[in-house]
């Protein structure tokens, strides 16, 4: 599964994207817990930890909004992590 981090999520994770292996049918909730373990981090300046950012982010599965955190995901899925928007 390809995980793509944007903006503050990218700063907190320290990578733009990464490919991770999960069991087939894994739920987004479990993916999120795994990402927090993988990038525990500490708050650097004004960048919150990935855990804090994930709690406020929205998610896309293959560029479509993913709102059901229990939906089964597959290895070919691309998950985008979008922190709160700040346009304008």
């Amino acid at each position: 599964m390809l995980i793509r981090y944007f903006a503050a999520a990218k700063a907190a994770a320290g990578v733009e994207q990464e490919t991770l292996e999960f069991s087939d049918g894994v739920a987004l909730t479990d993916v999120i817990y795994h990402l927090i373990e993988l990038h525990p981090g500490t708050e650097v300046g004004h960048t919150p930890t990935l855990a804090k950012i994930l709690a406020r982010s929205s998610f896309l599965r293959n560029e479509v909004a993913l709102r059901d955190f229990g939906e089964p995901l597959g290895p070919a899925d691309v998950i985008d992590i979008l922190p709160p928007f700040a346009g304008g």
């Binding site: 944007f6 700063a11 300046g45 919150p48 922190p83 928007f85 700040a86 346009g87 304008g88």
Partner: protein, 143 residues
């Protein structure tokens, strides 16, 4: 019922100019034009800001188009123009310009205001702020 039109709704790397929006929305049947310009300011939360960078998710051009189409569908006979800038911006640069023309002012004010609010709420764009004291932050990520 008059047809509403999205004249333009884009994400732009090039500087935005209000004149472009005004020229694009004007029409002989529109007696009111309301425009908004979101401009980079030199302070935030009591700290001095030197510069900003906006970045957009790849879906942002599509989302800003959907948002503008929704606002157009909600109002009768409006002509809408919106563009959000991405990349490095300096103090005083326009980050967002939105413009609405309508036969009468009430509708133009309402459509422009809704357009700006909905772009800010829904379009996946982020702002990285560079402070004079050397600090850097992604706006809105932590609170």
């Amino acid at each position: 019922m008059n047809i509403s039109v999205v004249v333009e709704a884009t994400i732009s790397e090039a500087p935005l100019r209000m004149e472009t929006a005004l020229a694009a929305v004007q029409s002989t049947d529109c007696g009111a034009v309301v425009s908004f310009s979101g401009v980079v300011r030199n302070h935030d939360g009591g700290r001095e800001v030197d510069a900003l960078t906006y970045i957009a998710h790849p879906s942002a051009p599509e989302v800003i188009g959907e948002v503008a189409a929704e606002i157009a569908a909600r109002h009768d006979g409006v002509r809408l123009w919106a563009a959000h800038r991405v990349g490095p911006l300096a103090i005083g640069d326009a980050a967002l310009i939105a413009s609405a023309a309508a036969p009468h002012r009430g509708r133009a004010f309402a459509a422009c205001s809704e357009l700006v609010d909905t772009i800010k709420e829904r379009v996946p764009i982020w702002k990285e702020q560079f402070f004079s004291d050397g600090g850097v932050e992604w706006v809105g990520a932590g609170e």
